[in-house]
Amino acid sequence: MNTTLLSFFPKLFNPVWLTGPLLDKELRVSSRRRRNYVLRFAYVLFLTIFVAIVWLSVVKFQGTAAYQKSRMSLAGKTIITTIVMFQFIATQLIAIIMLSTSISDEIYHRTLGVLMTTPITSFQIVIGKLFSKLLQLILLLAISLPLLAIVRIFGGVPWDYVLSSLCITLTAVIFSGSLSLFFSIGNRRAYVVIIKTVFTLGVLFAFFPTVFGVLFALLSRNFAPILRSLGNVTPILMVLLAHFNPFGAMSLNTAAMMSPTMPAGMPSFYWPLHCVFMLGCSALLIAISIKVVRKVALRQAVGQLDLTSKRKYRKQKKALPKAPGVQEPAGLIRRVKGSPVLWKELRAPIIQGAEGRNSIIGLAVTIAALLLTYATCAKEKCLDMDFTHIAYTLMFMLIGLIFNMVLSATCITSEKESRAWPILLATSMNDWQILWGKAVGVFRRCLPIWFLLAGHIILFVSVRYIHPIAIVHMFMLIAGLVVFLTCVGIYFSILFKRTTSAVVANFALAVVLWIIVPALLGLVTSTISRDKVEVFEAYVSANPVVQATTIMGGTGGQRNAKTKLSKLDFNWLSGNHSEGISSTTTLLLITTLIHISAGFLFAWRAKCRLRRNIF
């Protein structure tokens, strides 16, 4: 008895019982991967850039020393907020990407079944995978700690904010990572896992709170006397909801630090409570993952293919040898028409793995959610406002662009990963035929989102809430961006072996082009060379978000829709410049041509590299 107890306690505090040898293996492997060092370098680089931008914008070079000193406390707060928010978003994204192939890789390489033949438990597999990636993320968080400590010298930032924000970030990272790991059990492709995780997080932490807010607003109007008798419940509800939402928690925590005197009636926000809630949710997800992993692993261990869904299992069972001469029904065979690559791309499901019932449910939920937002806008009488159409256009455009980036970066790496790429290249098809087929396939898969955007604009043009020229302008904008992003994505898909690398590279390019460079230019023009502001403005005018906002700002709303074409006024860069229809159209045309030309340049480079780095 005593011996058992004596051996139990050292075991309890030894992490090996928790993760088995998996953590050790994962850490060894990750230390040999160049991309992890690149990631750390990129993380520090981006963090430095953000801090530099905030530093230079808050701490002005002009003014007396006393004035500058007086701004130090504000600078400290702003810099710390920037670091915290950067970490909060970046580490969650990295966690999602890092864990997107954690289990699927084991399934795909058929090592999960092998693991099950050892004493390693499915609990150790899941925890080992999760912790190995989390350790790297904690390392990223630790990188910023010295910076946070230094900035505290400026004053104004309490230690408990640093601590609470780190805890909120860490628990959010654990939750996002657990969700990504959970999805990686059933999906082989990293991008599908990433999209599903981001979508789920969006539904949980943006869509549901919005719906709740809308419903509450409607209820508060109908049941105003009852609610009035309860006092001011809105702030109470806000704080309560923040306990279940990491984004809300972080915002509330930061707001409390920036202005310590909270409005009257505002209840306290307990960040440990939020962290406990998030950890509980993560534990639940991990428990489900452990159960599912065990099922999949056992199935693989007994020789079944790496298939997780019942549908695929049935498909596999169907393929078992039949009696000689027994012909399988040939009714569902589709004949190849036209270019084979194009045919294959066109017949593929819009999202791989989301065929049949799943896609119908997804589509129905999306349409229902969309209709709900339209109904709310109609009730609030804001459908004839320009900002409503700006919001819808931006939403559709950004979703479309994200899909475009992901799908284009995936189209060739997925073939490389499934080792079908050399076979395709060994055919007599020429390089342009393959590239064209892939590009059209990407466009086709994004088409439903562009249909939604087009549908929105055409619908409100027909009811005269949007000026018809918006159709032309938005077409120009989207056409340029689609060509550019598709070609860039295909180029990265050819350049890299792994889907995740290609997707990350494509996103990184977009972030650099449309966020980092404008931010740096803005910084340079505002602090060093103020006379070069036109360069900054010209560059920012080519930003898709700025262009879409300007187009819809100039054409959206009842007033603009009824204005003569020649009298339309487009406010570029928050009202700094107002341009007419001709100059706006010219600017859009130039941007579109630049995007298309740059896209063709990438397509040409993709063609040159098509037969390199095949294996």
Binding site: L305, K312, K315, Q316, K318, A319, P321, K322, P324, G325, V326, Q327, E328, P329, A330, G331, L332, I333, R334, R335, V336, K337, S339, P340, V341, W343, K344, R347, A348, P349, Q352, E415, S418, R419, A420, W421, P422, I423, L424, L425, A426, T427, S428, M429, N430, R611, I614, F615
Partner: protein
């Protein structure tokens, strides 16, 4: 038909193929043998235009693989060591897809696909999803795909790996059938006994070098391997051993179970002299059987087990 001259492929500091010279004649089955990492797959990938050689020449049917990539691809059917499949296609669709990729007219495709399905005995699987097929079936499908554009040359990288004995025999028969159809086949495999049965020529490669190329019969003198003969007599086994040991053409005689193992000196063909000696001594001969050199033996003697 297939020819390489001083073919070299380097990956950074690693030389995968080093001054490789090989020739495969029209209508031959050429067995390409070598340890793992010897450069077989790299050579095959160069021949099917998937890799560019660092130096040297490679040609198929007189066409340089570098300059006439597309024409070479039309001539060659390539089956890689690991065949990737498209998840969302059925067997018929998969084959028709590749038929279209090779530019076969739409009206001809159906009959061609049905033809290769019949040849590879996959008719019953034409509506099955490609990713749901068993390993053996996928290998067959790979062969069917290779044949879809009726190539003159087949380059098959370990087509029988991972298959059960029945499937291996079926693939062997299929290859024989293809040879009868006049195809030139270059095949790599680790199952040497199988290559022995179907190959006209073999090429043994190690460390990127071709250490031997020729027929199995040519290997023997090249290796300096002594011929061995198994002699079985009705009785007087000891007397037979005594007589044979005295012959100058014979280097070693020993009893091995119920037969006498005779090793001849290098370059000697001793069937005649052995028979004469035993008949003259009034010994009843049951059989005199030359011991066939196995490809495995030649492989072991020729290669040193060096891998990159």
């Amino acid at each position: 038909m297939i020819e390489t001259k001083n073919l070299t492929k380097k990956y950074g500091n690693l030389t995968a193929v080093d001054d490789l010279n090989l020739t495969v004649k029209d209508g031959d089955i050429f067995g390409f043998i070598g340890p793992n990492g010897a450069g077989k797959t790299t050579t095959m990938r160069i021949l099917v235009t998937l890799l560019e050689p660092t130096r040297g020449q490679a040609s198929v049917n007189g066409l340089d693989v570098r300059r006439h990539g597309k024409k070479v691809r039309r001539l060659v059917g390539y089956m890689p060591d690991f065949m990737g499949v498209y998840d969302d296609l059925k067997v018929f669709e998969y084959l028709e897809f590749f038929a279209a990729a090779f530019g076969i007219e739409r009206r001809k495709r159906k009959s061609i696909v049905e033809g290769v399905l019949e040849l590879t005995d996959l008719q019953s699987k034409q509506s099955a999803a490609v990713d749901s097929l068993s390993r053996g079936m996928q290998q067959r499908l790979g062969l069917a795909r290779v044949l879809i554009h009726d190539p003159k040359v087949l380059i098959l990288d370990e087509p029988a790996s991972g298959l059960d004995p029945r499937a291996r025999i079926e693939i062997r028969e299929l290859l024989r059938e293809l040879k009868r159809m006049g195809k030139t086949i270059m095949i790599s495999s680790h199952i040497l006994s199988e290559l022995e049965e179907i190959c006209d020529h073999v090429g043994i490669i190690e460390h990127g070098h071709m250490v031997f190329s020729g027929t199995l019969e040519e290997i023997l003198p090249r290796l300096g391997i002594q011929s061995k003969v198994r002699v079985k007599v009705a009785d007087s086994q000891d007397k037979a051993v005594e007589l044979l040991t005295a012959l100058p053409q014979i280097s070693q005689v020993r009893i091995s179970g119920d037969y006498i193992a005779v090793t001849l000196h290098e370059g000697q063909n001793g069937d005649g002299i052995i028979a004469r000696t035993l008949v003259n001594a009034d010994l009843d001969i049951i059989s005199i059987q030359p011991e066939k050199l196995k490809l495995d033996d030649a492989f072991l003697q020729l290669t040193k087990g060096i891998v990159h």
